[in-house]
């Protein structure tokens, strides 16, 4: 189905149906085939009837979200996904999907909430720390920038200092914090160590692996310190 070979998919499903006539999974595949063909109403019917027999089938709930998204009904997708997460709040993929949808609509506060849930449930997963930091930086404002810097730092910690995005994030935050607190009473608790360590780590990485870009990196870092 991913390759748009719908006839092949149809034949496969027929064969599966013969062998497993009452199977939920085959029922789902039939629904997916209808989706792939663009027969949204029929797919909706198929999934709804499957849900009647199995109201707690997570995959089918998520297929309905996917259908809403595919038809461009993003607000519908958000609503369904939120309802889904009220029941299945441990579904990390669903939280991630919701966060990404919110980001694409520039609803950063809501996206931040999703990443907070993810960090709570998986505090050692660097991906969520990094994504949360990115969202906070995008939201802006002194408090968010300071928190963002902390989460870039925790990402660096969790990834052994190897994550380029987090290292760059620290530099960006430092520069932005400097800009925002210009002229305000500087309670300079900000030690410059973190940012210069990050800069050094980046320069080392680039020197080793992307030597031709080292000049660009250095001038970028220079322009950030202003």
């Amino acid at each position: 189905m991913d390759c748009q070979c719908l006839n092949v998919a149809k034949d496969c499903i027929k064969a599966l149906l013969k062998k497993f006539p009452e199977s939920k999974r085959v029922g789902r595949l039939e629904g997916m085939l209808l989706e792939a063909k663009g027969s949204w109403a029929e797919a909706e019917k198929a999934y709804s009837s499957l849900l009647e027999d199995n109201p707690l089938d997570q995959v089918i709930h998520k297929r309905k979200v996917a259908m809403a998204k595919a038809q461009g009904n993003i607000s519908g997708a958000i609503e369904s996904l939120n309802k889904y997460l009220e029941i299945f709040m441990a579904d990390h993929d669903a939280w991630r999907e919701l966060a990404e949808i919110y980001v694409s609509l520039q609803m950063y506060k809501q996206a931040a909430f999703c990443y907070e849930e993810l960090i709570l449930s998986q505090p050692t997963a660097p991906l969520y720390h990094l994504a949360y930091a990115d969202v906070l930086y995008t939201l802006g404002g002194l408090e968010n920038l300071q928190t963002s810097k902390k989460y870039y730092a925790s990402t660096i910690d969790l990834t052994g200092g190897k994550n380029t995005r987090a290292l760059l994030g620290v530099c960006l935050c430092t520069s932005a914090i400097g800009q925002v607190s210009k002229g305000k009473n500087k309670e300079d608790k900000e030690s410059p160590e973190l940012q210069s360590l990050a800069a050094k780590a980046l320069e080392k990485e680039y020197r080793q692996k992307a030597d031709d870009k080292l000049g660009l990196l250095t001038s970028a870092l220079r322009s950030l310190k202003i």
């Binding site: 990404e100 990115d134 995008t138 380029t164 995005r165 760059l168 960006l172 680039y206 992307a210 970028a220």
Partner: protein
């Protein structure tokens, strides 16, 4: 009366962006257009190169800011600047210019007021292998006097042209040989800095 600006994109810049979109069919992608105003004719903006940017989380600032700094630095030393923005929507039948694209476009206009947004035209792209159309598979958007992004009118077809007339034929070739696998974007670079977002070997 503001003279009607024409935008001329080089074959390589054009193909790079379309291949990038094809590499990441299931997500939105974006890119930066580099170039300058034609020194002999200031009603023409030449796009001489492009940099594919991201295929995930296009609306987050940190990577975008770093990318813009590095891109400006690199091309600035060659006398070129950022002259526009390319965007391809996630879904096939979404032909609208979204808010993220408009915001990035607005930002670029602060530094280059004649900046344009090129939006991938999925239907034209689909029809590409079947026709002899030499016009680009993109739609041109420019800002009007009230700073709103508008699709360049029915004659928009002639305001956005590809410099080399055979570009679509070359593009179709590349599509059949799945050349999109070789395109590196800024996301790829941030994940592995050995990957070069300048794509120096792509058209060799």
């Amino acid at each position: 009366m503001v003279a009607e600006l024409k935008y001329e994109i080089s074959q390589n810049a054009y193909i790079k962006l379309v291949l990038h979109a094809l590499k990441h069919k299931t997500t939105a992608v974006n890119g930066i257009l580099l170039g300058r105003v034609n020194p002999q004719n200031d009603s023409v903006v030449e796009i001489t190169d492009s940099v594919p940017l991201f295929h995930s989380n296009l609306a987050l600032l940190p990577s975008l800011e770093i990318a813009l700094i590095m891109i400006e630095e690199h091309y600035g030393s060659k006398g070129l600047g950022i002259v526009g923005y390319f965007h391809a929507n996630e879904r096939f039948d979404d032909a609208e210019l979204g808010i993220v694209a408009k915001n990035i476009g607005d930002h670029i206009c602060r530094y280059f007021p004649q900046a344009a947004i090129f939006l991938l035209d999925n239907k034209k792209l689909e029809a590409l292998p079947m026709g002899k159309d030499q016009s680009p598979v993109m739609q041109l958007y420019i800002r009007d006097a009230s700073k709103n992004w508008k699709l360049a009118g029915p004659d928009g077809g002639s305001r956005l042209v590809i410099k080399e007339p055979a570009a679509n034929a070359v593009l179709s070739d590349y599509i059949s040989s799945e050349k999109w696998q070789d395109v590196v974007d800024f996301d790829d670079h941030l994940d592995d800095i050995k990957k070069d977002w300048l794509n120096p070997e792509l058209f060799k």
